[in-house]
Amino acid sequence: MGCIESLPYEVILRGSSFKESRDYVYEHYKEHRDVPPGFKVFDTHIIGVPPIAIGFDGDFVIFPFTKPCHGTFLLRIEDPKEAARLRALK
């Protein structure tokens, strides 16, 4: 997942459980969508318990990023193209 790690991301939640991450997206982003595990965001396959919630805030994409030793991070990355691509999949 080196791709995401090289992007200018903001950490919204650090070391959270997967459920906490999902609930945060539902509660804080009016615009969101559910995707299945393995779904690609920023060229990375998302890990998680379905439904996996991805949020949108203008050109920002908010999504969970899970690492074996650190739990789930909820990240926020500004990328108009990726946001548009994900919105178009609806």
Partner: protein, 157 residues
């Protein structure tokens, strides 16, 4: 003994969690051994630390075979480039459950959740997708988990 070179040989992926709980490396090597004995080819998938612990412990690769980066393995399975007959996900935290749920969704393998650690019962209770749980309170001593694994004998299924 089954010919390990047979083209129709079964395969298994062992999805390793964070190696901070000592029993993981021991049980992963033991499971690889039992799978090999049964003619099933094991493939280890983990982060660099988890895989390196195994490689250093088995320098002649008597038990290990292929060992690949976890994210690469997830990518290959998600994109339907590769799949396995059996999948064992090592779980001792919430991230492990997330990886198991992901394997449940992207792979056709028969899924086993190998659950251990101080909070094994809480972790096991959080799993609500179809899989076979092999769960024991094992942190430093692998024997409780080994015993359950031997009773389940997934290599014989």
């Amino acid at each position: 003994m089954i010919d390990p070179t047979a083209a129709s040989q079964k395969t298994a992926i062992l999805v390793l969690g964070c190696p901070q709980v000592p029993v993981q490396t021991s049980i992963a090597l033991y499971l690889a051994h039992r799978l090999r004995q049964a003619g099933i080819t094991p493939v280890m998938a983990g982060n660099r630390s988890a895989v390196t612990l195994l490689v250093v412990a088995d320098p002649e690769r008597r038990y290990l075979g292929e060992a690949i980066d976890l994210d690469r393995a997830i990518g290959q399975i998600s994109e339907k480039k590769r799949d396995f007959d059996l999948c064992f996900v090592f779980i001792h935290n919430d991230a492990g459950v997330s990886y198991a749920a992901t394997m449940s969704a992207i792979s056709n393998a028969k899924l086993y959740a190998v659950i251990y650690g101080e909070h094994y019962d809480t972790v096991a209770a959080s799993i609500d997708f179809p899989c076979t749980n092999i769960a024991a309170k094992a942190v430093h001593n692998p024997m409780p988990l080994k015993k359950l694994l031997d009773e389940e004998a997934p290599w014989a299924a």
